[in-house]
Subunit: 255 residues, 2 copies
């Protein structure tokens, strides 16, 4: 049994190693550059061995995406623990999103692969299930804040919009903006010069539109968001160092 477990650990160690090797290839050289032969060569194993861990490279990609989504979930958990009223906690989640795209940009890019139909359809059910659960967790975190807001009457229950659809709106605006920022080669050529600020303004407008107390003028919201940023993620300069990223954020989230 001890033997089995040791072997098991050895296998998992190598699985992690495969992901460690694959991540920079995927991020820096793209999907096409990530080949099983390449990974095998980099790790100095035969290709067949890699296939013992992952049935195809799509599975590697989704495994990486899952890790990135888990990181996001941890950031959300960290944010939602912000000890202020519900509206501020919702803002804190927005701050976490900002942090994620700014300082975990590699993860943000990788995360998008789950939306690629080719990759998704090819992957195993088990992996799909894990990813769905993680997404559901993130959703649950955000909507719990809304439900709480309603419960304490800081946010009126709306007939027009159930709580989950409020999340959807905030999600869409953050997600949509960030995808546009990442993929539109020339946002500023289109006259959009400060998209991050825009996201904040739009989120504020939505939250005010939902009548979520305390009502905040945009200016107020923006400065509060800045404060919140440094308060929630004081070590962001450390987190920039790629090597420390996962461990530090994990620590951050668990405290």
């Amino acid at each position: 049994m001890v033997e089995l477990s040791r072997k098991q650990r050895e296998i998992e160690r190598r699985t992690a190693e495969i992901l460690r090797v694959s991540k920079p290839i995927l991020v820096r050289e793209g999907f096409h550059a990530l080949s099983m032969d390449r990974v095998a060569a980099d790790m100095e194993y035969a290709k067949g061995t890699i296939y013992n861990h992952f049935p195809h490279k799509e599975e590697i990609v989704l495994a990486l995406a899952f890790e990135s989504m888990e990181l996001r979930r941890k950031l959300f958990e960290h944010a939602v623990a912000y000890p202020r009223s519900t509206r501020f906690r919702m803002m804190a989640i927005g701050t976490a999103c900002e942090f994620y795209t700014r300082h975990c940009i590699e993860d943000f890019v990788i995360e998008q692969w789950v939306r690629n139909a080719n990759v998704w359809d090819k992957s195993t059910q088990k992996r799909q299930e894990l990813i769905r659960q993680c997404e559901a967790s993130c959703m649950a975190i955000v909507s719990s804040v809304i439900h709480h807001g309603i419960a304490v009457s800081e946010l009126p229950r709306s007939d027009a919009l159930p709580p989950e659809e409020m999340v959807f709106g905030l999600w869409a605006i953050n997600f949509g903006s960030q995808i546009l920022m990442a993929s539109s080669p020339s946002l500023s050529a289109l006259g959009v010069h400060d998209p991050i600020r825009s996201i904040r303004v739009h989120c504020c407008t939505l939250l005010n539109g939902f009548d979520w107390a305390p009502h905040m003028p945009v200016e107020n919201y923006l400065t509060t968001a800045d404060q919140m940023n440094t308060e929630l993620f004081p070590q962001f300069h450390i987190l920039r160092e790629k090597h420390f990223q996962m461990t530090n954020v994990a620590t951050l989230a668990s405290t």
Copy 2:
């Protein structure tokens, strides 16, 4: 000269034919299924001939994407000509977006390929330029409505948010929602049951938040949007027939 032009026309006819053949493959069987060999076989030409028209399949994909973006632009042009006040014209553009994703879903899917870094980076500068221009045109159409709204004092000029960044917000919310709808396997499992309605509600909330007159309660907005839909796109049932899609919409847009 006449000869040259005839030859030229012949070449362009075949280029169009390549796109015509490629489109259903890309839409229904995915990027991987679209191969130069396959296209050549389907058209009963040699592969080399296809390579005379497109240097690689990525270029075919972006050519298709450009066509789809042009369709969107035409819809926007059609919408923006709606003869009512600026706020309603902005709503009309939202209606055009709804129409596009509902009834031109193939184009919507294809359009997303321009955001794929691998495809984008591989394509020719000329094609990239065309696509950028089309995107800029769409942007210009939308922001012209905003500028007009400001000019006639239906919309206050905001210090917090330049017109183009207002467009960005509306763009992000529509785009983000639609991508989430298209790619999230289980939105309703997450509690989001009527995302299209949600988009409308959020757009209404934003427009109200911008103080764009006339201020509209959500209920009002929703019914108005329904009316606008049938008014702007009365032939939508015809447009469903894929074959008539391009021509009819083109007609629609030019009248």
